[in-house]
Symmetry: D2
């Protein structure tokens, strides 16, 4: 998609994710980090449910936002950090299933702003259903490595 | 804003909120329920933080979504439930402070769709800073009381 | 994507488009109508420019909204009409070029709501640049054929 | 709302608006420019209609986007120009009435990004109905006066 501005992007993303208490609170993991792409997984467990036993829409938004943010972060220089400017999310179906997978993919990387699309899928056995679709704007903060903010 | 279609709206909202495990996981409470308006409070604690010690943007989105959704729910008939169709949120400032307050206010209630604006403020002593602004679309599901879905 | 609920969908879409004065005002055309997909073309001419000689962002929004709306409309039954509930659009690059192409593609058709993604590309000779990305929610109005509203 | 960074902001906004062919194409005017606020008016005429005789949603989006953009522009320094990053708009009611009024109001001005809320009202005699609600992100481009881009 674009040239690699930091060859150690995966380590950088992993280190940032490890510092997010909110991600461990909901039991989310980050098993896939590619150049311009990231995936967050979330097992379905009772702590993240809403009143009908599905995963809470806010939690679906959290993992989509993180997948998108880290997708953008993989394309940023080593001395930069990433900030969510805004996002818009459509809920397409109840977040049922054993596992949720949020995928983020950079649509347009930029020097100061990056635009990303993210999707959340519910997985139940062989079936994979899209449950949410997000479009997101992120800001590159140059000269402020992520762990130093 | 509109006539009261269910005089017991506050009890209905409180009962629905109590069933949301995800809200208790993040330690959110719902101290204010008015006709067309709702407020969610969230203490700042380590479990909801992101990598820089602020409250995670996804958690900010969760409480804004809930405040907006319950604001819309107060205007719905007793036999209806509420579903988030989509929302868009701008992050305006880091969610610092001891307490976050999310306020939802119905802009346009409707028979099938309701449009809501929600804001999140960070409170530190006397200071109240707007940290997020949301615009949201919710769906009324008639004939399906919230706890029966 | 989904079964065809009206075999005459293309005629229906074309008839609706022909009634939109605003589309002829900006000189937009609708050269492609497929099941779940539509394309609007807009030549670059002085009347649709903003202050820097690019196509006005609002006009870019208009053709994206229309491409998305008609994509959704192709999947609706013959006695239904389509209404934009809301959309979100990111401007990715200045709308330069001789021609703009807006493409709409249904992400999730629904009985009452349809979710669509639309993109706008600027074409200059062989080059095609994405200038906008939209995510959109549309409402199906059953029992109200489009020309009868 | 914030200190005045350019005392001649109204002239600057008016000059920029005068250069937008697309605004004169749809017959929009800019009768109100205040610090942090702007209003666009649009008479209802046949050229801006959609298939049912209401003002086209895309045109509603155009005037909301412009009102918001110019509201933000009033707070920017003299050597800056304004760019729409993205917006989200909800259509609340058909744009009927003799006149549409779009109002933009800055929620949070910033050095690089400004967040704005805009609303569109349809006016018919004494009645004023909100027909659209927008939330918008704009970018400040420093060192590039608007007419020089």
């Amino acid at each position: 998609m674009t040239r690699i501005s930091d060859p150690h992007f995966a380590e950088r993303v992993r280190a940032s994710f490890a510092l997010q208490h909110a991600m461990s609170l909901i039991r989310a993991t980050l098993p896939l980090i590619e150049h311009g792409r990231a995936e967050i997984h979330l097992p379905h467990w009772s702590g993240v449910e809403q009143q009908h036993g599905f995963v809470h829409g806010g939690v679906v938004g959290m993992i989509a936002d993180s997948a998108g943010g880290y997708a953008a972060f993989t394309l940023m220089p080593a001395d930069a950090s990433v900030l969510t400017v805004e996002y818009k999310i459509n809920m397409l179906a109840p977040a049922a299933g054993d596992l949720l997978i949020a995928t983020g993919e950079v649509l347009k990387p930029g020097r100061s702003l990056s635009i990303v699309r993210a999707d959340v899928f519910a997985v139940q056995g062989d079936r994979r259903t899209r449950v949410a679709a997000m479009q997101q704007t992120l800001m590159v903060m140059h000269g402020v490595a992520d762990e130093k903010i």
